[in-house]
Symmetry: C2
Subunit: 556 residues, 2 copies
């Protein structure tokens, strides 16, 4: 037995105390006996004794909790989505105290793990409807767990061979999907959220466009430029565009909001005017964010092609012009356009798409993943770091793809997507996505049919249904500004009641730019697959908790 490291006197004392008087912390779900934690020693380089669990049992415990709670998208409808606690209360319930000795028994460890899960929102519940993400399925979670257990990254082939290869495969599929017959490349952008990377993907595309405009900026920086670089985006666009403009030093004043229609889609004529105006003012247009135009109603990226021909060939805009090669319901997420069927998406304006951020992110049924950013044409010239990317390696170093990224390491998120394609196959993905669209269509029709419900806008955009619930007390009145102000308070009030009961988690929000007061916003994602019954439940619940709202409670 080889023991290195030292065992501190304190540890020995603590352990002696424990032996004479084992500290029992009652566990709630645990059936294990309370074992006393042994003194940690290091044996053959592994100190296995610090957790009162033997080899692999802690992971088994995690699996048991996950199975018991059905966290892989199989939670029953009648369980609550959340057991809400206010922050200060939760601080106490979670027991944040830490001690130098750690947990002393299995029961204590179990309790820590169970508490975290108990006080988390069940995002895998069929009635968890959130702006940013949906549930996960078992294949998705299996992929995530493998990736975590592999604990490697893919900045070089050397450390992540299987990850590099499967990413190549997924990017090839994506490039095909985008209809880029002359090839393309891509990157999975890092993110912190569960469906992350949108913000970073947008920044990549801005940096790409700037680099296309003037590669010299790489050396000189932007202060060498005499005129401001201008970004155009819909007046309803996602806030990550202006955040990116701030972060990257373009400045908020140089983000030009372009007028949009009722659906939040940019007017092509307004865009052209805005570009002309910027030129007259001596500024340099270099980037058009031509995706959705809007996150709130459209959610799905809707192109600004409403009859208007956008300045497509790059003549008017000096730099790369950003355009998504897909629109509305023709999105690959509909399933029918998935590459396996041989159909190709119409890639409008072939010279253009520097950036085609892929939408399926919200439909991939995967846990936490980077956002794909397929790129056409030129790539960002990053900085080769000799300590990571040695060129005198004995294998084909073109597989060391880490230099595409702004970070050193890269997580192998493509693996999850690859496993999804490989194990489930496109048919299943298609089936589920179609079901999400069906459910939204059904929801929209029910909102139109049911008394007291009202669509914010006609016409489904992606799976997004925005609507108001008008409680009986507000019905039949003239819609004065005061009336709208009262309606503005209805959604938050109903939401509060629903959260406290835990039956349903649904978003609401106003659209101040369009002068619209708080409305509910339902986005169906594809797993757990939404059904008509789920849609009925949503409307029933809103009605149940909203029908007794009195005018007094809406005045302030």
């Amino acid at each position: 037995m080889l023991v290195i490291g030292r065992v501190s006197r304190r540890m020995l004392e603590a352990s002696a105390v424990n032996n004479s008087n084992p500290q029992k912390t009652p566990g709630i779900m645990s059936s294990h006996s309370t074992t006393v934690k042994p003194v940690p020693v290091i044996e053959n380089g592994v100190n296995s004794d610090t957790v009162p669990y033997s080899d692999g049992e802690l992971l088994q415990k995690v699996l048991d909790i996950v199975k018991k709670e059905k966290l892989y998208g199989k939670i029953e409808d009648d369980k609550s989505v959340v057991d809400f606690k206010h922050p200060e209360e939760l601080r106490k319930l979670l027991d944040l105290t830490m001690c130098r000795e750690g947990c002393q028994s299995r029961a204590e460890v179990d309790e820590v793990l169970e508490r975290v899960v108990r006080h988390s929102v069940r995002t895998q519940h069929p009635h968890f409807y959130n702006q940013l993400y949906g549930g996960i399925d078992e294949v998705g979670l299996a992929g995530a767990w493998i990736l975590e257990a592999l604990n490697t990254n893919q900045h070089t082939y050397e450390v992540g061979p299987a990850l590099v290869i499967t990413e190549f495969c997924v990017i090839e599929q994506m490039v095909k999907l985008f209809g880029w017959t002359d090839g393309g490349d891509g990157i999975f952008c890092p993110g912190e959220s569960v469906r992350p990377g949108g913000s970073i993907a947008n920044m990549y595309s801005m940096v790409l466009a700037r680099h296309k405009l003037n590669p010299a900026f790489k050396r000189t920086g932007m202060t060498a430029n005499d005129s401001p670089l201008v970004i155009f985006t819909s007046d309803q666009s996602h806030y990550s565009i202006s955040k990116g403009a701030f972060w990257l030093g373009f400045g908020l004043d140089n983000v030009v909001p372009v007028a949009s229609d009722d659906q939040g889609i940019m007017h092509g004529a307004a865009l052209r005017d805005a570009v002309r105006k910027a030129r007259e003012e001596g500024k340099k247009p270099f980037y058009v964010n031509a995706t959705a135009g809007t996150t709130i109603p459209a959610k799905g990226e809707q192109l600004l092609t409403k009859g208007e021909q956008v300045p497509a060939k790059g003549e008017q805009l000096p730099a790369k012009f950003e355009q998504l090669p897909m629109k509305g319901e023709q999105l690959p997420m509909k399933g029918e356009q998935l590459p396996a069927k041989g159909e190709q998406l119409p890639a409008k304006g072939e010279q253009l798409p520097a950036k085609g951020e892929q939408l399926p992110a919200k439909f991939e049924q995967l846990p936490m993943k980077s956002e794909q950013l397929p790129m056409k044409g030129e790539q960002l010239p990053m900085k080769g770091a000799t300590y990571l990317f040695q060129q005198d390696k004995f294998y084909d170093v073109s597989y060391d793809t880490g230099d595409k990224s702004i970070q050193c390491g890269r997580k192998g998120d493509a693996l999850k997507l690859w496993l999804m394609f490989k194990i489930h196959g496109m048919d299943v993905i298609e089936l589920r996505i179609n079901a999400a669209f069906e459910a939204s269509k059904y929801l929209e029709s029910e909102v139109k049919r049911r008394e007291g419900f009202e669509l914010v806008r006609e016409g489904l955009q992606c799976t997004n249904v925005c609507f108001w619930y008008i409680p009986p007390a507000l019905r039949g009145h003239t819609r004065t500004p005061q009336w709208w102000q009262m309606l503005h308070k209805v959604a938050p009030l109903i939401k509060e009641r629903l959260v406290l009961e835990g039956t349903l988690l649904i978003g609401y929000q106003p659209m101040t730019g369009k002068n619209l007061v708080n409305f509910f916003r339902m986005i169906n994602t594809s797993f757990p697959v939404p059904t008509q019954a789920h849609m009925n439940f949503v409307l029933d619940e809103i009605e149940r908790r909203g029908q007794d709202i009195e005018v007094q409670s809406l005045e302030s």
Copy 2:
């Protein structure tokens, strides 16, 4: 039974074919019988039948693989670290083909999962020594799995209550650790790598410094500035500084490399000269990257305080001056300075630390985690998005911390760190980290003692030991430039042999700025805990595979 969505004709046909002629793909580890995959239908919103596994069994399979392969840091020393295959070969072995119907049997699914693991590097192996990261332990992996299963984020309290609360707790600990008695804040920066976020954390700090210099840039952008903004960093600094300068539009020409000593530590006098020179040229100094100065030899952040007083009070540098409040061996990772002991780290230059990127990242024994960026003083004013951060919520919205981030969502990485503190306790973390330092000290002494081995520099920096192996054929010669050029080829050659045998994965690299040819670079991380036996093995292996290298094979 409620069935929605449609079952395609193709699916039915495929299934019929399979029924009459089940496709058997032999699984290597699997003992399951080959079951035919049923036609997927959607029942109560869940289509459970698309994977030939029932409820939770796929996750159990993942756990079985992880346990069998001991991927939680318990791999035996005598297993190989990697079974190397060249990229084109691996493409075939992984079987990248995808079909619309997905996998048809358990055996097929098992084989897909096992193949990915089989062709991955065993980063949890005691003999995996990489620049960027070490292994994980079971508590770390358990935390990661829970986080993936929770599948939520923490941009709002509403979706991640337990995550928000535990992050608060971890940040409080970090602020204490940095000795900021008047408080502070922090953020976990997103990353793609296993130990990620360093690059993004650096960018946050640059954006913070720019904002401090002139908050108006937020609106006007940097083109409104008449003089370039200048960054100072050691001539040996990490390449993420110049990448960040490119990305954020400062420009590579405005990154001033400051002369450093043998250890890569900036000379204070050289820094002062560089700042003066930049001023004389009409440029605006705004940021000093005063961490390590170097990634390669030092790896641990070493302050530039070698006797020289840096321009500490901000008088010389108009903007916030970045400085790490810790140095060398006094790092919290050494354990003795952990906050629980009441000792406080010396926070030098109290006005300064806008950024104190924490080092323990590489010693946390956790899988994939964001990098912590503790911040003192002013925060970045991000853009509130109404669709995410409604202010009319019924709970304390100061717990909706998402607006600190440049991204919409945020993954709850702090949970993993919190579980580590909570379950293991500081004593264990300290024990392991101390063991890593002990092992490096031992390695250094052995390198000095053994014939044919030579330290690149005297003096351990963090756990980093850089050394050459000089094969017998090169010993005893005059060290001409030709001789060094031959030595330059030794490390790559030995590494190739070691990788192909799979016994050891160790990094090498040159330091061209310091005119140093390829050397081995051993960084001990704290789990699996490195022992003297491991260190002996590393040197023995290098010797075993290097001693027969002939002069001819080094000439080219």
